[in-house]
Subunit: 254 residues, 8 copies
């Protein structure tokens, strides 16, 4: 919540310039806009200095486009995840700044780039098939103002591959690791670095991988204490958490 705005309304109450009903309505409106099928949140991005994000899956194309249209009126930067090329086509009609990223199936609008990170974020995959999820993390973190080092295909069956990248890993303020199958890579990476590791299990595998559950359990039970975990295939969440960890931080002034 934007406390300054609220404080002004309270002052107006005190000065008797504002009735209770009207005051309540104004406070509510400052938070979000109601489209009927969605409440578009205009305060979150300004609150956190980050782009707005729309999760595309489960919404109709018209809903996605409608939300995007409203968000772009107030927000410079935006991500649409879990979407498709046709939706991109319609959004391209609204703003020519939109980019389509096929691998990650993600639309990105960055009209006001910024450098908000104290260090780099290393994004690592165990295999080639994990790249789409990792790329979603990397694109998200870039949109949130971070420099990224991409390190693909360094799974633990050839342990020398990840050890060879140790120097690059150690430059990072935070590491994102995407892995399917047994999900062992975050534990190994976690032992090589002294910073937080955000592990994202992928649904890559078959049989007893159970759509990523094996990797998820492996990561939750990691013997490296610096590992925390997000949902299966949640590249966006991993990139988001990593960005928050990497950002230059000062206690909020309210």
């Amino acid at each position: 919540m934007d406390l300054n705005e609220i404080e002004k309304i309270i002052d107006a109450i005190k000065r008797n310039e504002l009735g209770s009903g009207e005051a309540a309505r104004r406070i509510r409106d400052s938070f979000y806009e109601d489209l009927g099928y969605a409440r578009v949140d205009h305060s979150r991005a300004s609150r956190q200095g980050f782009p707005e994000v729309v999760f595309g899956k489960g919404k109709t194309r018209a809903q996605v486009v409608g939300i995007v249209e409203r968000l772009l009126q107030r927000s410079a930067n935006l991500l649409v995840t879990h979407t498709d090329a046709d939706t991109f086509g319609e959004i391209r009609n609204i703003t020519t700044d939109a980019e389509w990223h096929e691998t990650a199936r993600l639309i990105r609008v960055v009209r006001e780039p910024a450098d908000r990170g104290v260090g780099t974020i290393a994004v690592v995959t165990a295999g080639t098939s994990d790249i789409p999820v990792a790329e979603e993390a990397a694109l998200t973190a870039e949109a949130m103002g971070n420099r990224i080092d991409r390190i693909w295909d360094v799974g633990v069956a050839g342990i020398h591959r990840v050890i060879a990248e140790r120097e690059l890993l150690r430059q990072a303020r935070v590491v994102v690791v995407a892995a399917g199958m047994e999900g062992a890579l975050p534990s190994v990476v976690g032992g090589l670095v002294g910073v937080p590791v955000v592990a994202v299990p992928t649904s890559i595998g078959y049989g007893a991988s159970f759509g990523g559950v094996a990797a998820l359990l492996g990561m939750l039970n990691s013997c490296s204490s610096n590992v925390s975990v997000v949902n299966i295939d949640n590249g966006f969440g991993a990139g988001f958490v990593a960005s928050l960890i990497n950002r230059r931080w000062e206690p909020p002034v309210e």
Copy 2:
């Protein structure tokens, strides 16, 4: 790995002062000490500037005490988690600096306190029964040089309780949230703050809570993007990750 030490050995190889076999042995020894039943890692703590940690469960008391003895010879600070009062009694014989924390079932030795955090860490519980796990997180983070704000019993069934603590939450650089049952609190807290939330599901509940699985799944599926998760009842891990997020960071010089 301590690169300086390795570099010295490599220089000695170049100067022909050191044979290959002896060089290999020295490099190996710089990493850990072999007690037979355990390889005590002398490099991890110095590497990361953090206390050594012994996970007590699954080891015999003699093993725990043996490992602790060795670690205390080189490390000022130490945690023993998942342990008991009798083990504490024996460790008290080794060092009088040891403290016993009954609620978290944790032994702590802090002989060289430090202030390593850029902000405070808020540790939050949904209910009274979640306190032991949360306390483990808080004690860990304190041992790693952080200031903690403890906020107990603010579960979502009385949403005004957590909203009332919003100011305190917003002062934090990172928030740890421990919750059992439906595990909904991290999502709500995640929406109130703009920093990372480390969620730790607890095994509190019965029936379809399945020993913390319901809370774990709730947290993994959080609609707040700033939430990452550690294992059920892993208060130590949550405190450890939160400490890494909160520490003053500079790129490692190797």
Copy 3:
């Protein structure tokens, strides 16, 4: 069972106007009509004063249409759930009163509207993607004679959105809450109101949401005591239970 009808048959037995075999057959026939593939229940609706309901999935189109035809001969109101537009086309040939609801994939016939509720029913969703399930609940409850307040997209990650609707929630005699992912919204709503909350988990989510299981478990473990739960995506059941709670009630006279 319609006791009056049975009593008449018993009287006829006493008066020796009716043989045992014939009596048995008549009693049986008063309950349902046997179409071969289905036993159409003619007594349930009259018993409960509610519309007949046909669950479309798993039946052939011919079976659905056949059952509907028979039911419409005795019942004024009717719902077909989990169906499709082509089935609607055929039912439209039987009665022009049929309406097609695309979002909820539901056919509705309300030829005798009624107002049976003591208050309103609030139907709430956590996100935009939960609307189809919630809409099934709302349409069902409307068909059963209730006034509905629809409150869409007030998930817990932006807790101010649901708090802003507190007044509307408090006017309700019962609240239906549809949520996927972590399924936390019923707990929060449950804490805001003093009436029953019927929680319906949706299959919205991915990865460790396991098709709605995470939301289901979250709701079953709700720390709000006024929450009860129906099956994943069972919007119809939620609307039905909510209608029974909201109806004006008198002890049955038999």
Copy 4:
């Protein structure tokens, strides 16, 4: 929240009789009292006209007694669930009105009985072993001002037993059904009555009953549309929901 009290504080703000900081503190205090390990909620009961409830499991005895002491200062009626006879002994020292119910392992204080129900609540079990859970539901509902009809041991393997009680079931405004094993009884009862059925699965059974999961799944998939479900062994929750359904209801005046 008690709106009247808040309104008075707001009026005081307007009259400049109250500073912002003091106002905030007073509003917060009206909600709950902070015991350190628990936030005792003083507004919930008054809000809902129901007894306070303490869930005993997972809290130390001292914590339970401390919370009870505070609650009894403001609330006439109280339940402690999942507790034991020794805790009862200590609470008996605080108030001689406390009753101990061995079967349900529940302490009850009812100093201000009331009749709040529009009808009776039928509480039904499938077997003898389900009685403790059902009794918890019945005692809860009694404490909330309802008349109860207890119908024990009418499981579906002897279908004539439940059919024989049809008259009693039909007098009820709401039915609670506790069943373990296959959990089929709520479906049968649901077909016999036209009111809501609150199903509570019990952990009675062995092998593939998985501690009540089989019964839980059976109830969630009930083919009777008037069934909703609470957590395994959650007799309290079933009694609570049933009481809310049965209470005489008027829209809240705020």
Copy 5:
């Protein structure tokens, strides 16, 4: 194994008319014919007096037709389950006695009908959608020489429907019950009859039915002691077991 044939071979060994190698080969050949991709068992049907059965799923069409061709040379009766109309087309070219059953997706050849049952077999479904599985059971049992009573759509939500068929159920030597969703019908039927009930869970349902698991667990935990269970959707198995129970039995003479 056909002991007479083996005995003859042993006698031939004793009379030195047969070498060891040749004897072994002959014994082996009497059991089955090796098609490369399948070992066609020529002794099973003669051993048990039942038709040969081919499970179509997971085999190529050519494999199914090849096996059928070989079996029909020695066996009068045959079933192909989990197959399709095109396979039927090819088998029709081999024998014009083949019948196609669309509902059960089953091909049946009965060239030597027999009456082998001591009583009738009742086959019962809870709903209309369970008919395909039940029909597979009924067609199997008919092919094995039994008279069948089909009782469709008598699920427990309308308990009077199954009670109305009590007379028919009591004529049966064994009852097959197919049910999805909560799978409660076998328990009720089990209580109404004094003969074995073979329960077959179906995958009918959605959400927490988990493709028939809820029904399966319900049936395994049945409180009626006369219920045993086969795999989800295994109508064939249910019909086969029921036929074995119903057959006129004499101890085998070997």
Copy 6:
């Protein structure tokens, strides 16, 4: 239901010798006796010609003894399963005919032995540890008037052991097979005999046996079509079903 008794009451109604209320009460009483905590069923045994059975687990000792006392007044034969030696001590005070079977933890009273089976029942175990469950099946079937062949410890890892017992297996009208771990024995036995096999998984095993789930799944997926399954460790159920299969059967006269 005992139709003769009911018919007499109906006749009395016709002759006006009996009022409706009294008639209803008499009919109900003929079914069971209500002990408060249990409805003792007096008609089931007479209906099926079998002993009464009390499941001991989950009932207090006083409840078990109370139910037994009532049953023994009307029933000659009785089983108490899942019970203990102390309960046996108290039941011994009621009847000296009671036997205690330590291995199966079962009390048995057989005052009227009978020979009701058309053949023998073979009861088979895979290992020594499965004997308690198998013994429960065997004792049950003996109490129901069957001759039993016990075949212990013939698991599939030494396939010659079960093949060596083929003759004995072939004499049986039905085979009960108890197996833990991978639960493969029923499939092998099923292939050796032409009669129904009742498979009972046991909880014997560790690790991925999951308390009998691995064996249960193995049996449900048996490639032998004559296998049906009861709950894990349900020796009683297996013995009961086997007895029903083996009994001399005639269509009920009603």
Copy 7:
């Protein structure tokens, strides 16, 4: 790692012919080639004397072809698993030695055949539907220089079929067994031979086979001690492990 190559580099360091940076780069390059989306490992095959393997699923066709192209420049033999005929078409353009195996969906290039096995490998299936997985194992083991005995369709329901092949099984140094449904065959085979059995569960089955989980659990709980298990449908892994067991072994000289 190829120690000789490394040793040469170390010698060059000692002779001051090589700077540290250049030395590090050379060592890294000797391990793998970085294609951007994949790190092609050039040392694994030479290390183990086996063909390179590419897992096709989850990679784009262009990625698979690119990796294959690079591998074929240094490696004589190669497998591509989980691939399709179109990919084969493109690889056929690179090398005419490529073979397409439709059943196993596998591409094989064997330009330098070898005989590396001490004995034969028997590959066994329970049913016809398990052949694709078994064929993947057989083709892999052939490519690794082994002679194979294929034994198809000898599942345990006709136990004489596998016993008849005992001689062939006993000639093998290691046995691979592929089975779906209850997965019992490895236990039986394990009891017949004195060599390791590599069990591979297949996803063949339906209902409670849960995509191969039932077979997997059966194999993990095998009562035959010589059984170890690979992932569901992992024919390649089974063939690979069997080849390593069968190869002529000498301690590596480094």
Copy 8:
């Protein structure tokens, strides 16, 4: 089966020195001895040249001792696993050669040591807590005539620990790896060696380790192709399989 013995019996049949019945009995007796509760297998060990093994759990102490007594009459070497010190006390009375291994809870009798392995077996653990399971594997393999290298506590969080032991690992003909928690070590070890890796998951861990399931799934999904898996905590099985892989092998002469 001991073919020589059988052949002699067949010769005696041919010479008419032996009747059929007597011949059958003799053949059967050569396989095992029936103790009533167990069939003691006298042919397995001689068949495979390995010690007899008794699994202690689930058997009474008297049963274990009885079986051991019988086995020691014919077999020089013997293992009792999952047993206790008191059982050891009784077995010590039978043979003074018995050794008690507390860590592994295993009794071992080796009266005829042998060296049967072509190389060494490396047994590796991830942590100190995994030692009991690993020790069971090592003791089993020793009893089967192998030399063992024990490598304890080299989990992947400190990857330099396992890399430091690479030389020792490469000397092994087969490697056993015991690991709990995320079970990642077999994948790393598998990448370092060119021989089979037998992975044994342990139940070490808590929360989402689910008693070893997380480790089991990790190992089944290993990206190293040379890994096969045994049951959770099945150290005996791992040692047994490793011994079979390591033994000097010649095709059986029958």
